[in-house]
């Protein structure tokens, strides 16, 4: 007899990810991912000036502000065929990298570490022993018994107060948790320290973007940063030095703490290399352009079908024809009026809400498809595409991480094991260490270019008299993001954003193929179905971001997931 479990974080404002799973013999036998809010914000953009679109798209989501701004200016630039000066490319790249480093640190420590770390075991840890253990893992100077003791005291204070606060909803003592108390303490102390380094990364975004959370320095055709080595208010060598120092600290945290922690967790939960694979089609777009025309990149793009790494195909440009022509959105199982799968430039968003029905329509998320196939996007897709293509930077960092897991865990790790829940975490850490290296490289490129006397930051866009179409892509922290714009008479005629979480959280399609979240949950063992920690582990490994759009405060305090067992 199968059980049905629904996990639905209840807030009065709908707009969250809901997961339904059927459980047979303590393993998932069927799964549905759905979003409970209508995503039709694009309709607001029709009729507006394309040069203003980025200000609006930056408000799609409060966590991914920068990425939607960037994809939007790139879409309009693609439509208008305007090149972007080198300084502007590099300034944008640095913003994107700093934002991604911030995002990856936040994801691991604030949002998913506690799926693996049992906070309530920490009072049983021994800070001295933890220090010895830490010495074997990393040269991080803050791995000291004093730091560990302070972190432990914090947990003890919370545990003894009876007011668990932020820990109120954890599945503590769950049978799927099995780190030693010392490892739990080690990871938890980094959870506290992470706050300082995620802030430093955000400060880099703030210096270059002139403000966070909403950057102000973008413009179609470049950036609005004035570069003047003699002016205190412009981008000058002092500011660049300030960025260099901030990045140094962030890079050290990534390499000596974040990557090490992910490798250690992976080494101690090796069973999770066999769980959570799902859709093995991967998609990534090239990013971090190194020239004005956008023909060479520091992050490679391409796609992989059915896990066949040898058969990977690269994308040459950020708006590669193969990518542009292959994307459609299917609404067979989404709450929109039925119709054929449509290309985003032709996309329509006519809602038809019929209520959750797993056999018919059940989500507000459309199902994006690439040549008709569901695709997994995110750091794993990016790392696999780079690895498969022999991209030196990817190979270097992936190999280092794999060796670390092998050394700590005494297990053999093959690239094939990356098709898993742990693989997604490992790939995100690998990507972070790649980006950490690239942050310093791009800062140097920018400094050198300015030192040569090039202060250009902007090319004036020109609107053609006929209708034009453009796509702007960005390999965002959560994966491939694309904004699609149609411009007529200097106004937006159509606008669609195909966001990473739409690819991953996609519902089934007309051929009944499950989306990546759904497929990844199949066969997941659940130790206690009424406490579906294992489902959360896999879903969190994707780093979903569904509806940051709406954050209304609910004073009734009912912000708790409803886990229903039927």
């Amino acid at each position: 007899m199968s059980k049905r479990i629904t996990i639905d974080p209840i807030t009065r404002i709908e707009g969250h990810l809901r997961i339904d799973v059927e459980v047979d013999n303590n393993a998932v036998s069927n799964a549905w991912a759905s979003c409970t809010m209508w995503r039709g914000i694009e309709n607001i953009l029709r009729g507006r000036d394309p040069r203003d679109a980025w200000l609006f798209t930056q408000r799609f989501c409060g966590v991914c502000t920068t990425v939607h701004a960037m994809a939007s200016v790139r879409a309009v630039e693609d439509a208008l065929k305007v090149e972007v000066p080198l300084n502007a490319q590099l300034i944008r790249n640095l913003i994107l990298i700093a934002h991604a480093l911030h995002d990856h640190i936040v994801h691991f420590y604030q949002l998913s570490a506690l799926d693996w770390v049992d906070v309530m075991q920490i009072p049983n840890a021994d800070p001295e022993r933890t220090e010895k253990l830490a010495e074997t893992l990393s040269p991080w100077t803050r791995n000291s018994r004093n730091e560990f003791k302070a972190a432990q005291d914090r947990v003890k204070a919370v545990a003894s107060s009876g007011q668990l606060g932020i820990f109120m909803n954890g599945y503590w003592g769950h049978p799927a948790m099995h780190l030693s108390p010392d490892v739990n303490l080690l990871a938890f102390s980094h959870y506290i320290q992470a706050l300082e380094y995620q802030r430093k990364a955000l400060q880099v975004v703030g210096i270059l973007g002139s403000k966070t959370p909403h950057i102000q320095n973008l413009t179609v055709g470049g950036v609005a940063n004035a570069i003047d080595l003699d002016s205190a208010s412009a981008l000058n060598m002092d500011r660049l030095e300030q960025i260099r120092l901030l990045l140094e600290d962030v890079v050290r945290f990534i390499n000596e703490v974040y990557v090490v922690d992910v490798c250690a967790v992976a080494a101690m939960y090796p069973e999770w290399f066999k769980i959570g694979s799902g859709v093995k089609n991967y998609l990534a777009v090239p990013d971090l352009p190194l020239d004005t025309a956008g023909t060479s990149f520091d992050l490679p793009g391409g796609y992989i079908m059915n896990g066949d790494l040898a058969g990977t195909r690269p994308f040459q440009t950020a708006s590669d024809k193969v990518f542009r022509d292959a994307v459609t959105e299917d609404v067979t199982r989404a709450y929109y009026q039925d119709g054929k799968p449509l290309h985003p430039w032709k996309g329509v968003t006519d809602p038809d809400f019929t209520g959750w029905n797993g056999e018919k329509k059940y989500s507000w998320v459309k199902a994006p498809r690439f040549n008709g196939q569901p695709m997994q996007v995110g750091p794993l897709a990016q790392v696999l595409v780079g690895f498969a293509q022999g991209h030196p930077l990817t190979v270097k960092h992936a190999t280092a991480a794999i060796s670390k897991v092998q050394a700590v865990g005494g297990i053999k790790v093959t690239p094939d094991m990356l098709h898993s829940t742990l693989g997604r975490h490992a790939a995100r850490a690998i990507r972070a260490s790649m980006l950490a290296e690239l942050a310093q490289k791009h800062l140097q490129l920018l400094t050198d270019n300015i030192a040569k006397g090039d202060y250009t930051v902007f090319n004036q866009p020109v609107f053609p008299s006929h209708e034009v179409e453009g796509v702007g892509t960005h390999e965002a922290p959560r994966g491939t993001l694309s904004h699609w714009v149609v411009i007529k008479d200097e106004k937006i005629k159509n606008y669609q954003a195909v966001v990473p979480s739409t690819w991953n959280a996609s519902p089934r399609d007309l051929s009944d193929a499950r989306g990546p979240y759904e497929a990844s949950l199949m066969n997941t063992p659940l130790a206690r179905p009424e406490e579906p920690l294992e489902v959360l582990r896999t879903i969190h490994s994707f780093d979903p971001c569904m509806a940051c759009a709406c954050h209304t405060f609910d004073p009734s305090g009912k912000q708790i997931a409803n886990v229903k067992v039927l």
Partner: protein, 183 residues
């Protein structure tokens, strides 16, 4: 006396109707009043856990956000730190859903949560996609501002009315629901 470091932060999504009231009020305050340099006024959008960074190191924080509660649309309701701290955090199904409660609870764990927290909640009428505020929420703007100013008075923070209101930087909004001369 030491000057208090204060953050006044408008929270909400300006593309979702009344959810934009927090950012709107932040811009309105900036247009109509001059504050001491230790007072920061920010349109924070929907910052999720980044709110921890924003409030960290402040002595007092005043947040403005739309609320959903049994009340007449446009009702202005204050919540204090203790009211918020007793609420449950969200289960992090969607890891970016954690909002205000989670941010404050985390900030408390990290020992960076200000002592003085006031959330000025405005009961929304509609969260439909759109860039304008409903009539009842427009009608609540002046009351919201007066609640904020009273809190500043209580904290002993100085401010003064601008003789000539600055430009209202609510770029997303096509109309101006409030004549600046009235604030």
């Amino acid at each position: 006396m030491k000057k208090l470091k204060v953050l006044i932060g408008g929270i909400g999504n300006v593309l979702l109707g009344d959810d934009g009231v927090g950012p709107y009020v932040a811009h309105l305050l900036n247009a109509c009043y001059e504050f001491d340099s230790a007072v920061e006024i920010e349109d924070l959008g929907t910052p999720a856990l980044d709110l921890i960074d924003r409030i960290s190191g402040k002595d007092a924080v005043i947040l403005i956000d739309s609320i959903d509660v049994e009340a007449k649309p446009g009702s202005v309701l204050p919540y204090r730190k203790a009211d918020i701290m007793r609420l449950r955090p969200a289960v992090r199904m969607d890891p970016h859903a954690p909002a205000l409660v989670d941010a404050l609870l985390s900030a408390e764990l990290f020992s960076v949560c200000p002592e003085e927290v006031l959330l000025v909640g405005i009961k929304a009428q509609s969260f439909e996609q759109g860039c304008s505020l409903s009539e009842p929420v427009q009608g609540a703007l002046l009351e919201t501002i007066s609640v904020i100013l009273k809190e500043l008075d209580r904290l002993g923070v100085e401010y003064k009315v601008r003789e000539c209101p600055a430009e209202l930087d609510t770029w997303w909004s096509s109309e101006s629901p409030l004549e600046l001369s009235t604030c």
